[in-house]
């Protein structure tokens, strides 16, 4: 009996000592590293939240369809009900902002576009992840924030050095092309530069209702980001002067890019100002267009024989080079926790975000059609072979990624509206590029003045 007691005491002492050593050794280390050393059981972590329902906004895009297929497993393990709402991208900011300001509590998980992070974080609508990663009951030891591509975590999830969200739906602009159409035109590979696309490929691939290129330019974020900014950056221009935040669209480089966009019009479909992502992807998929520059997330649509006539002839590479170098478009979304949600819903929302973006689920997510932000999944040889977009995507993010492709500050949505309207009119010829740029800069000035005057921190 005595021996038993002394053994118990010994074990107890050892346990206390081990706990003390553990606490001592982890002190001062980053949260996620601290979390790594303890075991994590999702079912156990979710035990207090069994029966909790969370609202999650989805878009009608491949990454979300992949996540939808994965959801039953999460719900089964955790007992948390995930209510998804599929919404058009164009309405997603409006719906979420009204939810935040109206306190309707529809969305516990917040879908944060790369260009909304400044607005959402500055308004304190989303919660810094430390609230959860500092809680050992909720933090997955294998979260490994360093396992995300740095540009994605920095751009999509971080504002003013605070991490709010984990990259979920990740895009880089890629050049997709129809190998057969290019071969028929006498080309054995894709254009390496914008100049070559226009002057060499353009004439040979355009005719008989076929077009060399399609640049999605429908009014909205498609016009301002995919079309307008793509050309400004490629020719060495920019929207703002980085030091002063004054407009920079009237610089010779920005104007050259926008004039080049006008030069591209004869090799593009005549109604290109009405083409959104769907029309552009279908243009290539149906064999009407030779080359497009589209988001990485559309690979699954273009490679699937049931949705693409050119799946066997699909080629992918990085975006062409311009006088400003290679400047592939950067876009995507992170998932963050709504700071207005109840505590238990916040915890359940975090468990979902952590799980869907975990390294463990990255492979499944990719195989089901998503584009993961985890570096490790792109190193798996079988997947590299299966998904030819891996190499150009990784190269785009690591080598050419531009985190300020669009400024991420709270004023961008308003500026995007201004650019989208006048940018479309430029393409239609109802206003010249030079006059259009003047109009845009005049309208942007009231939004930029507080930054120029130093009243607001120059973060983008």
């Amino acid at each position: 009996m005595e021996r038993n007691l002394s053994r118990r005491r010994l074990l107890k002492g050892a346990a206390i000592g081990a706990a003390g050593m553990t606490a001592f050794s982890f002190a001062g280390r980053p949260t996620w590293v601290r979390a790594q050393a303890s075991a994590f059981d999702l079912a156990k972590a979710a035990e207090p939240y069994k029966g909790v329902s969370i609202g999650v906004p989805f878009l009608d895009r491949p990454g979300y369809r992949a996540a939808a297929e994965m959801l039953p497993e999460f719900q089964e393990i955790t007992g948390i009900t995930v209510n998804t709402e599929v919404m058009p991208y164009e309405n997603s900011r409006e719906k979420q902002v009204l939810d935040f300001t109206g306190g309707t509590g529809l969305y516990d998980v917040v879908l944060v576009d790369v260009v909304w992070i400044g607005e959402f974080a500055a308004s304190q609508w989303i919660t810094p992840i430390t609230k959860f990663t500092d809680n050992p009951d909720l933090a997955d030891p294998n979260l490994n924030l360093e396992g995300f591509f740095p540009i994605l975590l920095e751009s999509f999830g971080t504002w003013d050095k605070v991490v709010y969200g984990l990259p979920f739906d990740n895009y880089s602009g890629l050049l997709y092309y129809n190998k057969k159409m290019l071969a028929d035109g006498g080309f054995d590979g894709p254009p390496q530069s914008w100049d070559s696309l226009l002057n060499e490929y353009g004439a040979k691939l355009t005719g008989n209702d076929l077009y060399a290129y399609a640049l999605q330019s429908r009014r909205g974020e498609t016009q301002s980001a995919d079309s307008f900014m793509r050309m400004v950056w490629a020719f060495g221009g920019s929207l703002l002067k980085p030091e002063t935040f004054e407009p920079n669209l009237s610089s010779p480089e920005s104007l050259a890019g926008l004039n080049f966009r006008q030069d591209l019009l004869p090799i593009m479909p005549p109604d290109i100002v009405e083409w959104d992502h769907d029309e552009t992807v279908q243009g290539l998929a149906q064999g009407r267009v030779g080359v497009i520059t589209e988001w990485s997330s559309f690979y699954s649509t273009l490679a699937d024989p049931s949705t693409s006539k050119i799946s066997d002839d699909l080629g992918i590479t990085i975006e062409p080079e311009g006088p400003g170098g290679r400047q592939p478009a950067l876009g995507g979304f992170s998932y963050a926790v709504n700071s207005g949600s109840a505590e238990e819903k916040q915890a359940a929302a975090w468990l979902f975000i952590q799980w869907i973006n975990s390294e463990e689920k990255a492979r499944e997510y990719v195989e089901k059609g998503g584009v993961s932000g985890r570096t490790s999944v792109y190193e798996i040889p079988e997947l590299q072979e299966q998904f030819p977009y891996f190499a150009p995507l990784v190269e785009s993010w690591n080598k050419y990624g531009n985190p300020v492709f669009r400024p991420r500050f709270p004023e961008w949505p308003q500026m995007s509206e201004i650019i989208a309207q006048t940018g479309s009119e430029m393409m239609l010829g109802s206003v010249s590029v030079e006059d259009g740029v003047k109009q845009i800069e005049e309208q942007m000035m009231p939004l930029l003045q507080p930054y120029i005057d130093g009243e607001k921190p120059r973060l983008q």
Binding site: E94, T101, P270, D271, I272, Q282, E417, S424, E425
Partner: protein, 315 residues
Amino acid sequence: MATADYQSRSVVDAVATAPGGPLRRRVNWTPLTMLLPAVVALLLIGVYPLIYALRTSFQQFLVTKPYLGTPFVGLANYSAALGDPFFRDSLVRTGVFFLLTVPIQVVLGIAVALLLTSSRWRRLSAVTRVLLVLPIATTPTVIGLIGRLIYNRDFGLLNWAFSLIGLGPFNWLGEPKAAMITVALTDTWQWMPFVALVAMSGLTSVPPDIVEASKLETSDVWETFRNVQLPFLLPGLTAVLIIRTADILKMFDMIFVLTRGGPGVSTELVSIYVQRVGFRIFDMGLASAMAILLLILCNVLAQLYIRIFYREIEA
């Protein structure tokens, strides 16, 4: 007898309780109780939002900047709305859209109504009325989505049909003028049947003996229509004008889905612009001021229609 007695009662009946005594007022609660749900619903979904919008129109109300508060700014939002060239342009564009659609819808609607109330087609009236209701019953968003499939230059149904007879392809939505006409045609497809149905009801109220008498007077069909049938149509057509004016001033779903106001700003009607101000820029004060201005405009036009077109007719 009991029914007649019930009908003859007013909500507040004055009843003498005693000969020579004071009059006591007795409230009949039944009609009030039956009206109450409708009145409450109207107050909640109609009057309250209107008062809220009116109040907001006098405030600085930037939804995405709650830290600025919502201070009273007097008429500043109204002044900003009236001084906004994009608002004025969108209003002009809405006027052009109205002129492109409503006159054609009225003329075609009356023509269809005359055709369907003629003796040849009267037997099919049950079927034709159902067919006329179908476009009106279709959700505008669905019309926009279907329209995108029909009008697409490269993959659209309409250009495919034209290609069968060697025509096209036409750029229905990619050119500013063509896009406006395409949207107007879609609107006409949806709302012409409404005018036709209203006109049919007007035509059926014309006493047959007056029509017969007019036919004895003149063989000119136009004369008969103008002097006999048209007066019976005017009350209904005035209602059509008021409804269509209000509808066009708030038309959003179909155009937003079909063109998103583009290409450029060619189909950006005033409602699309107000939605941009309210839900993209999130300046609710300015958007509310614009909405109130549109409400005033709508009421002024309605009064004008009544004054110009409305005539009481007695058979």
